[in-house]
Amino acid sequence: MAELEELVGAAVDAAEGGEDVEAYASSSRRTEVKARRGKVDSLSGSQTRGLGVRVIREGRLGYAWAADPSTDEAAALVAAARESSAAASPDEANVLPEAAPAEPLDGLYRAALVEMDAERKVEIAIELERAAVSSRPEVTKVEDAIYADAATRVVVASSRGVSAAYERTDCWCMVMALAERGDETQSGFSFALAREPGELDLEGAAAEAAERGARLLGGRKPKTERLPVVLDPWAAASFLGVLVGALSAEEVQKGRSLFADLVGEEVATELITIVDDGRLPGGPGAQPFDDEGVPTGRTPLIDTGTLRGFLHNTATAHRAGASSTGNAGRPGYRGVPGVSPHNLLIEPGPDGPEALLASAGRAVYVQEVTGVHSGANPVSGEFSVGAAGLRVEGGALEEPLREMTIASTLQEMLRAVTSVGSDLRFRGGSVGAPTLLLAEMSVAGA
């Protein structure tokens, strides 16, 4: 079996005159354990690797990839990508980045994760389930209690002299607790992320999932009215997730961003600062260089309410006459780089979530939004999503509310923020937010 370096080397060596070739290879080892009723329900382990090759000829780009290729197949992929390039349109932005050294990121790779044996991982999943079912009387079972981890290695090389590699480890646990009363069931979700298993807050995730499920029991549809809304960090991050596209130069250049032409303008209240930080220690999306070998950094996007710029990869930067922000992102070796954030976040404010609730008065606290993906239009900014949560009266969380819909536009929402919490948390992906208090919004129910 060839090393990743040999595979990318074989591909780059197959470059012909007048063309640029880039090879991206990755390998990963993963484990996933699901626990159910105090026992291991399933255990999955894997080893995968593959190679993707970009060939650029006369501005035309072709791509070819294969899982676990030999060095001979690596060279054949270059020929296949070359053939595909002939069918593509020329685009002067089809350029590869020049070599630039990336500072390594300390602590991204932890041997402790790789060395942990499968039996200990099984115990972690079982502990997670046990903690969830023993934290609240209403919770006697879970829909899922999962521990998972991955150790990944990435190598990028090109005919432009790029030659870079990094390794990282990630682990996470996820629990969906089921809370019951009479014949009603509510589910509550939580998860935790870390670089190595010893740093995962299992107890915290389990207790939170149980609490989030139990407190929704007995929920009713609220009356339709306009009132302040408090978004918990995950609900806020769900909305921020829809804005990711709007902050990508790729979408801007293709006329699909609601922020196009608004650089330098006020697009949010001055409480809102949004940055993407590819080097955030502990951030789930941290990496020393992006998926085409460009060093990552910290990119301000919205600064105290003013739109400052967009995320770029090499191609979008070329088109805009700008520099890449190190945000090339690709679906592993199976696809060409697009633009994606690393750790896109709303900078936390000074006050804890309790202080936000206290200042909210009579409001709706949203702990779950559903249908954001389908219910929000990232181009127009209009959205209408389902929500579940609790009523807020006098700063305290009161009775549960379900089957609500919240409708507005993302633009209005950014201007409606009246307070930003200090409790920044990341959602599963690479988007994080703190609790947000919004001025009146339309909350529809019965």
């Binding site: 080893q47 791509y63 070819a64 899982a67 509510q186 589910s187 219910g375 819909t405 019965a446």
Partner: protein, 464 residues
């Protein structure tokens, strides 16, 4: 057909997987070759070919399932995967692999003209036809993205029970998204025919027509008023009701959801849980449909399962594991995204069957409400049945007539409540392909229905 793995190696891998005392061992091996291209902003880009390959070894001991996969398909790698599975699935069973019995498909979905043999240039030319037609439809069309994807997947599934199944699946999908703008308003339209088929799929869905349909939707919605909010009668257009049925109800009928006690349908087979007008089926035998196959991803033959019969709950969707857990026969619904995933119970082509009422009469009989012509994606909580759907094309119904387009509507409700509230089922029918996501696995599905009316449900919109 040359198998993806040879028989001796397959038998050795299964023996190794059983060596810890597992009751059952299975290997799923596949090779998938694909071609894709995208036309975005008038430019052809992302022309790519890919070869994916890999094998997954599953061992089951009692209630424990162990799975190990690799995309190395050599003997060493496969035996290592089998050993890893065997170590996790320990038991006392003493089982040997029987002789393999080759299963013959009862239903074939042979492609007319496999896309794999068609030149990249011809595929790109079809994308240009989509683009040209969408752009010429109306001056408001601002952006067109058209994508092509075809693949041929060769699968081998063999088990310690002597199962030996091979299948070759040819899939093709053409998708287009159009953005139209007028003043400060932007709206999107979408169309995406797909099939377990070759390029003959384009005879039923000519590329130009596909482009026009998406453009028409985007341009129409530009003239929309903000959707109303509150409870009202909702008429769902053909195919749209299938999305509703799939999301709001179908997921709760998948046996894993039931087995984990996370479904409201648990223990309720035989009860009348829907309007008597509702008969719903899941059918993977539908010829050349996007969600079809000859065998599911555990080697069980394709089948048709009646889920609701005149409102009565009659069936659940089983894979092998949950069938054996519940002492029921598998319904051939064990599916996986690839060798990298364990099979789980999944829907295939799920439909509400047509009724007797003229669809025009249904609208005429509705004094006021919302006509949801095309539904976007949706999300459901299977534990409660609560759901929310985006409506990508909606209109107001005023005095029994479909009038102005309504923007930004979504439908929110509960699966059980909604199925009970169906008070009219049309005699028409249509279905749409899509990708259904569950537990991180995406699989091709179709959803179909006639025109349906839900007497009352909550519409979320900004129009107050």
């Amino acid at each position: 057909m040359t198998p993806v793995l040879d028989e001796t190696l397959t038998r050795d891998v299964l023996h190794a997987a059983l060596s810890g005392g597992a009751d059952f061992a299975e290997i799923y091996a596949e090779e998938r070759r694909s071609t894709s291209a995208q036309l975005d902003d008038g430019r052809v880009e992302d022309v790519a070919t890919g070869t994916d390959r890999g094998a997954g070894v599953r061992a089951i001991a009692g209630e424990v399932t162990a799975y190990a996969f690799s995309n190395r398909m050599d003997r060493d790698a496969l035996l290592e995967a089998a050993a890893a599975a065997a170590a996790a699935a320990r038991g006392n069973a003493k089982r040997a692999v029987l002789d393999f019995t080759r299963a013959e498909p009862q239903v074939l979905h042979a492609p007319g003209e496999p896309a794999g043999g068609v030149a990249r240039e011809r595929k790109v030319a079809w994308l240009r036809e989509v683009d040209d037609a969408a752009r010429s439809h109306a001056p408001e069309v601002r952006q067109v993205v058209a994508g092509w994807g075809d693949s041929v997947q060769r699968v081998l599934i063999a088990s310690s029970e002597g199962l030996w199944v091979q299948e070759e699946r040819h899939r093709l999908r053409l998708v287009v998204q159009v953005v139209a703008g007028r003043g400060g308003i932007l709206q999107t339209g979408f169309e995406g025919p797909a099939g377990l088929a070759g390029v003959e799929l384009l005879e039923a869905h000519p590329p130009a027509e596909v482009g026009v349909k998406a453009a028409r939707q985007a341009v129409t919605m530009l003239g929309g008023v903000p959707a109303p909010a509150g409870e009202m009668a909702v008429v769902v257009g053909p195919a749209g009701g299938g999305v509703l049925f799939h999301e709001a109800c179908g997921h709760g009928l998948e046996a894993d959801t039931i087995g984990k006690e996370a479904s409201i349908y648990r223990g309720r087979k035989g009860e009348v849980l829907a309007s008597e007008l509702v008969t719903g089926v899941d059918d993977s035998t539908e010829p050349n449909a996007w969600g079809s196959f000859s065998f599911d991803d555990e080697g069980s033959p394709a089948a048709r399962t009646v889920l609701f019969d005149g409102g009565r709950l009659t069936g659940f969707l089983y894979d092998r594991y949950w069938a054996s857990h519940d002492g029921a026969p598998t319904t051939g619904n064990g599916r996986r995204q690839s060798y990298a995933s364990l099979p789980i119970p999944r829907m295939t082509n799920t439909s509400i069957l047509p009724g007797a009422t003229d669809p025009e009469e249904i609208v005429a009989d509705t004094r006021s409400g919302l006509y949801a012509k095309a539904l976007g994606g949706g999300q459901v909580n299977p534990a409660t049945g609560d759901f929310v759907f985006g409506v990508s094309e909606a209109y107001l119904i005023e005095d029994g007539e479909i009038t102005r387009p309504a923007r930004g509507a979504n439908l929110i409700g509960n699966g059980v409540t909604i199925l009970r509230a169906v008070d009219a089922v049309g005699s028409d029918f249509d279905s749409r392909p899509g990708t259904c996501g569950k537990d991180g696995q995406g699989v091709p599905v179709t959803t179909g229905s006639p025109t349906l009316r839900i007497a009352r449900m909550t519409v979320g919109g900004t129009g107050g």
